[in-house]
Symmetry: C3
Subunit: 303 residues, 3 copies
Amino acid sequence: MALRAAFRNTCTLSGLLCQLSSSRSHGRVCASAVLATQQRSNSTSSKISVDFDQSTGVAVMHMKSPPVNSLSLDFLTEFCINLEKLEMDKSCRGLIITSSLPKVFSAGLDIMEMYGKTPESCGEFWKAVQEMWLKLYSSNMVTIAAINGSSPAGGCLMALTCDYRVMVDNPRYSIGLNETQLGIVAPFWFKDTMANTVGHRNTEMALALGLLYNPTEALKIGLVDQLVPEDKLMATAEQTMAKWLAIPAHARQITKSMMRKPTIDKLTSKREADVQNFVSFITKDAIQNSLRTYLEMLKKRKA
Amino acid sequence: MALRAAFRNTCTLSGLLCQLSSSRSHGRVCASAVLATQQRSNSTSSKISVDFDQSTGVAVMHMKSPPVNSLSLDFLTEFCINLEKLEMDKSCRGLIITSSLPKVFSAGLDIMEMYGKTPESCGEFWKAVQEMWLKLYSSNMVTIAAINGSSPAGGCLMALTCDYRVMVDNPRYSIGLNETQLGIVAPFWFKDTMANTVGHRNTEMALALGLLYNPTEALKIGLVDQLVPEDKLMATAEQTMAKWLAIPAHARQITKSMMRKPTIDKLTSKREADVQNFVSFITKDAIQNSLRTYLEMLKKRKA
Amino acid sequence: MALRAAFRNTCTLSGLLCQLSSSRSHGRVCASAVLATQQRSNSTSSKISVDFDQSTGVAVMHMKSPPVNSLSLDFLTEFCINLEKLEMDKSCRGLIITSSLPKVFSAGLDIMEMYGKTPESCGEFWKAVQEMWLKLYSSNMVTIAAINGSSPAGGCLMALTCDYRVMVDNPRYSIGLNETQLGIVAPFWFKDTMANTVGHRNTEMALALGLLYNPTEALKIGLVDQLVPEDKLMATAEQTMAKWLAIPAHARQITKSMMRKPTIDKLTSKREADVQNFVSFITKDAIQNSLRTYLEMLKKRKA
């Protein structure tokens, strides 16, 4: 429990280790508050803040759960509540997802939700991961990931689930589904989402080796759509959004559904089995031992 | 009805607007007539002429329905009759499809078949579109699109349905499934045909945004196979045809069927539902209003 | 029968004709024998030798059936027995497949197993081809093809069935599924394996035309993963192997199964029908005549 307390919010599936200072993220939140006018509404919860501009119909979701935007149960719950609110607001047509933390977009699933937990807790967590994916992959809004830092494992999944990915061209950032490197396995719908984006063979190699790609490599295989300097990220995301929003919404939404429905239906029809599969895998002694070893390594590195 | 009369044959789904002079297309038709010898047979209907060279076993189908080779019910019916004739003629082994009109291959489905029509007429029209695709995608002949002009929407589908695509390298020509730009939706079998050619992700982006590609971009994603200068188009198509015809026909045909049958079976098994789906979509007030707005815009531009 | 005796082991589906000297392959076998220490075990059968290094957990399978490593029934049987042995040996974690013959990796299926044979023999042969593919495509070991020569038809299939392909960068070597060139057809699971590697459209073109790619072209479409000079081949294969073996085995194996199971299940569920289909095709008079013509051409060229 001491271990869990110490690493709460910092132990993700991705192995990402960041030396973080919270100053920068605070600076950004302030900036967005200053920009808020009567045309903008700011909804802020503890881990995510949403800045919605009614004049453009575009919301920006800032992930701000230090140190690395781990996808914990709490985070995922907030994420889905915010997403659902925007989805039901007819005036909101586009969503840009980005990070308020330095160097990291999201480091992926929170290991602490899987280590030393009851099967019930693990199952509840996994349903929340499924829910995030189902809601985002089938969103009627135009969704753009503005990737301003590393984005391994679940962070990569979140980006892949959007309609478009712009990434900051910083060779120190990386993105990929690197689960096998930690001895665990990306489930079939992570795999399907990646294969829909970069094809079967790239996915086979990427998952087998748990590859993390730098921005140039990610662009080359189509894992992201565009690279920009850090200071051009949000402007580029907004320009791209305007282009997508210029398309008649109804036609675009039907087209999106046509492209993604088979992949979504596959998880929907196997959702409970997928939860059982995850729970029985993650609660295995061997896997729990791997996770402990990994957590101890993280602890040592941090010390 | 006045509107319909005025725009008959000029209002296509693609939004293509061409300033057309018919002189050039007439010039071409004459040229092909001059070339006809006892070895060649010329079958000419009002919208399509077929030039079959028995010495090579290759037919060239010239689309010549001014101003932009709109795929009207009449056009599609003639197309299918010609295709079926060639298919049944054992001496005909290859088919090159090209346009006799300047600047345009085919501008796609004729909007006038969908605007202000009865559900029955719309359904009849849609069956003809299906029939064109089914016959061409499953043809035992080697089929090559010699794309000598813009080829949006249904024109792009026709090209994608061939075995090989050579396009004139003129940056003013474009090709793509741009239906969403007009507020309508490419059906699943348009999508499948494109995905079989350029993969899932390129198709997702292309359909969502209704992208039209210039020849260089089209080559880059594999939407066309080869670019050539305008004066080398037919020679290149013929050389490519010779290469394909050198392969034992039976083995090539079984292989083609193996690659395409799942996609064809999908439409065949859902054909009636696909017609109903189209009819109920296109006869919606909102869609009819979109089409009217679009037609009025075309009328103004032309005036 | 005279014909069959003369061409035994030299008549493959690929049309590969090599002027072969056996000296080089003998040189290699000696070299590997010299390297053998107490840490290595050498299992040698007539057509395949296996060199297993217990210190690394990596086995190297040398195909050495002159002149061109034709996949005869005997060859395939030995191949599967060796593969099964390694698969059951828990200390063996990786397998590199290469050729001990000069200029050729494997020239593919042995035509003599299909020409003038009873339906029963043809069926038995085809089951062995299926078995090779099923075992290799689903192997729990990391499998790397070290392609040191041409690899048409069944030779290409064998390479595609591995996890990774390194090819010698010699423009005289070629690789591809060129079955249609000989008037026969790659079955659906050859097609599926290729499409999983290079996508639908590349596969459609490659199979329709029976394309053989030189190493540069093969790399470009992803048919192979890496090119190296001949003298760097085995070192590169071993370095790549080390990288793959660094991934936790259980996670990698589950991931591999997830990627490949649908393709494997498809053949498993249609295995008997696929045998019947092959037998009824290959025993057709027209196909037997094609094979005879082809064999006679080989005979003349050799004379």
